[in-house]
Amino acid sequence: MIEIRRNTARALADDQLQRNLAHALGHTLQARDRAVGEVEDWEQLRRYARQVKAHTLARLDRYLGQLEGRVKEQGGEVIWARDAQEACRFIVELAGRKGVREVVKSKTMAGEEIHLNQALEQAGIVPVESDLGEYLVQLEGVPPSHIIAPALHLSRGDAARLMHEKVGMELTEDVQRITAEARRQLRRRFLEAGMGISGVNFAVAESGTLVVVENEGNARLSVSAPPIHVAVMGLEKVVPRVEDLAVLLKVLIRSATGQSVSSYINFLNGPRREGEIDGPDEFYLVLIDNGRSRILADEHLRETLYCLRCGACQNVCPVYQRIGGHAYESTYQGPIGAILTPQLLSLQEAPEHPFASSLCGACQEVCPVGIEIPRILLELRGRAKKRSNAGSKLEAFAWRLWSLLMTHPRLYSATSAFLRHPLRVLLHLGLTPPPLNRWTVSRHLPAVPAAPFRSRFPAD
């Protein structure tokens, strides 16, 4: 069971982390606002993007079938994985069959979700992350702390220390030199790796095209240099038509990094064909369910699957801004992680995720497909309570008592009158009964007035 509340104090006390978060998120938010401000019909584009996702998910079987057909026509193979285990087993066995010892990977959240690196390592296969941020967190031995910027929790100095300690590079905070060294380390691996693994931003059903958005060129190398390319994607990444990309790419990229367009957008259509210079000899597309069809079947939660994984909700979330990604102890963090994690795992496994929010609504406002994150948080909170354990029985009892008071005006007034004076005395003595004592850890309580509004109206 994940207990976020046990991790918050450490994150808040980590001054370096606080500085890194404020610095990185501040920049990204500004860039995003500028990029979105440039687009006149932003709200219309958001609505369109949302409609594309709604339309596709309502006919997911059809579009996935179409996608499978097109990919196969182009000489690729399609693998349907019910869960993380099936997906990992296929990839590990494929690597084993082909004698692959080393795999070069570009960023994939689906890969993180199914813990692909661990599965490969257990089979004695070395996964090498080629995205700079992913490369750094792999060196550090921790999972990514942000959907788009995996090493967001690290400062330049942290990165320098990692490169020094793990790769033997001389200690320097010169970003150019760190990047150059990472590139030098990675170039070799691209050429030597027996397999490249990538994620997928969009998979176009009508053309069988996989779209991979990136800024470093590492994804392009990962999918074209090694002889085998394996793409992993969640079922929900399919879109009907090529022309839908015009809108989806626009809202994704501007929301994610604040760029008007990313440095690279790769369009991949199966393995290398005769006469082509680049591209893999073999191509596999792994379609991962891992709980998605269950989410799809639930009308109250379904739109969680609209997510484009842009990370904007993380950037704008006051909670994420203060505790960072690792405090969530889950692959997906911040607002989208707060709703997705309990659905992918279970509410028993992630009972605190839906509560790690002030319900401020900034996430929904910034979301390029307008996912109603606050509403879904509330839905999940309600369901979490239905499965509550003995520990929260008291809380449930308190709420029943509360609703009794609130629906019986005389009882409400009498209780208020009865408790008011003793509470004033207690607080005057500096004693705060629970649960008020959780409030007073860092805040003063307001003074309790001698009489409520109701006994002072009409005004004097």
Partner: protein
């Protein structure tokens, strides 16, 4: 104009001055204010904490109290958003309660919105010669889309020195039961807000939700920061008692 005041449970029990100020401002604007003593809460605390059944019970009571009211005004963006956007959804589609909740939702106004959009009040000649900053409370801003009305009223005061704070639209960190469930995170987010308030040099922070202000006041006092909280109703009230 006859209005029924939903004063909110928090104002009733802990901040009666806010309610009294709201009444005086509404009366000065020409309203006849009615207060139904059977009222308690809109149900939001339970609704936001994962107890929709308890919220529904309280909401039913709310329907009974306010069903006949011609127009409901409440000095809270959060409670107004609860009534306008979430109350109907607590009841089964096509049920009698759903219809009553929808009718109530359509005649409920948040205090600043009511003054500016419904009554057309654009300025008040209350005097307030002090530096003031304004915090956009989340539900007022994002669920009701109100950000201009309170600012217009604040700017209209005589002698006012209005100063926008950085990131005024960022959450204060209160979040209802979030403030005790994740008390450390709640306070940390609140301290960011305190910093933004301090940077303006304002002597008062104004908002349309006393819940946010209660949280900020708690932090301000604990940190011994010399900035005072004022609900918009208190700011507009020329007979306010200095808090």
């Amino acid at each position: 104009m006859k209005v029924s005041l939903f004063v909110t449970c928090l104002v009733d029990q802990l901040f009666p001055e806010v309610g009294l100020s709201a009444v005086r401002v509404l009366e000065r604007a020409g309203c006849q204010v009615h207060f139904d003593r059977r009222q308690s809460c809109c149900g939001q605390p339970a609704f936001n904490s994962g107890y929709p059944r308890q919220a529904r019970r309280v909401a039913e009571h709310f329907l009974d109290v306010f069903g006949q009211a011609p127009c409901i005004v409440t000095p809270s963006g959060s409670c107004a958003a609860m009534i306008k956007h979430h109350l109907p959804g607590l009841f089964a589609p096509h049920s009698d309660e759903r219809r009553r909740a929808q009718s109530i939702a359509s005649k409920t106004w948040e205090f600043s919105q009511f003054l500016v959009d419904k009554l057309g009040v654009s300025h008040l000649d209350t005097e307030f010669p002090h530096p003031v900053t304004y915090h956009d409370s989340c539900h007022l801003l994002r669920e009701l889309g109100v950000s201009e009305a309170p600012r217009r009223l604040i700017r209209s005061l005589k002698g006012i020195d209005f100063r926008e704070m950085k990131d005024s639209q960022r959450c204060c960190g209160f979040g209802g039961t979030f403030s005790v469930k994740f008390q450390d995170v709640s306070a940390a987010v609140g301290l960011d807000k305190i910093e933004a308030i301090r940077e303006t040099g304002a002597a008062y922070v104004v908002a349309c939700d006393i819940s946010c202000l209660m949280h900020l006041q708690g932090l301000l006092r604990r940190r011994k920061v010399n900035v005072r909280i004022l609900h918009l109703a208190q700011l507009l009230d020329d007979r306010r008692r200095t808090p």
